[in-house]
């Protein structure tokens, strides 16, 4: 195993991570969060967007212990320590699932789908999970 710890000497890039899946039906959300933390450790300008069933990742009071899964939602608290504050939840995705911002684990901003288009256009890369 060779882990790269050296950071390439280039300017930080705007990386947007699109989270589209519910937290425990697939390992992709947990793997996405690992990638997000790595990108912030590399000093990149990280933005998170939760879309569709992805909004369930931020729901408070998750307890997947009975299906023998780790509750990785606690790791979202680390985002603040990593300086990631650009976190958006797509408004209609949240509404359709009967959720409100105060039921989410971390402070997030609501974004409308037409605003999301603009946000995506501003990015250097979109990492889709």
């Amino acid at each position: 195993m060779t882990e790269t710890t050296e950071q390439p000497a280039v300017n930080p890039k705007k990386l947007l991570f699109l989270n589209r899946k519910a937290p425990y039906g697939s390992s992709l959300p947990r793997e996405a969060l690992d990638a997000v933390l790595m990108a912030s450790a590399f000093g990149q300008q990280v933005t998170l967007v939760f879309l569709g069933d992805g909004v369930f990742q931020l729901k408070t009071q998750q307890d997947p212990s009975e299906i023998e899964m780790k509750n990785f939602s606690k790791t979202f608290a680390a985002l603040e320590l990593y300086g990631v504050s650009s976190i958006f939840v797509e408004q209609s995705s949240l509404q359709k699932r009967g959720l409100t911002l105060d039921q989410l684990l971390i402070p997030a901003k609501l974004i409308q789908s037409h605003e999301l288009t603009e946000l995506l256009e501003e990015q250097d890369q979109v990492m889709s999970f």
């Binding site: 882990e3 950071q7 280039v10 790595m38 250097d124 890369q125 990492m127």
Partner: protein
Amino acid sequence: MIFSLAVYGAPFSCQASDSAYQFACALLEQGHRLHRVFFYHDGVYNGSTLATPPQDERNIPTSWSQLAEEHELDLVICVAAGLRRGMLDATEADRYEKPAHNLEQGFTLSGLGQLVEAAMISDRMITFGN
């Protein structure tokens, strides 16, 4: 233009691996540079040397391996995602005292930092799968 690809889909299960491979061939043919192919999530199975499809079907791990040799590509399997799913090189098999290793020639195990570095270096980062 500098490209990198992220592959999340398992070979032979969904179109992601084939699409990624064909995209890689097309961009190289057109004279672009392929900085890295990063295999994450179920994409790690693209590197299994034990994949044994029927002889009249394409062998995706072998295809990647040949492409890597022709173009000196960097094919990286995420070590954490790979170990979970049983993708081991000789070093990891030794470390975890496993009876075998199964990494196809041309692939390496490395950390998630390689995905982020690829996103930083490349003009285009294209995701395949899920």
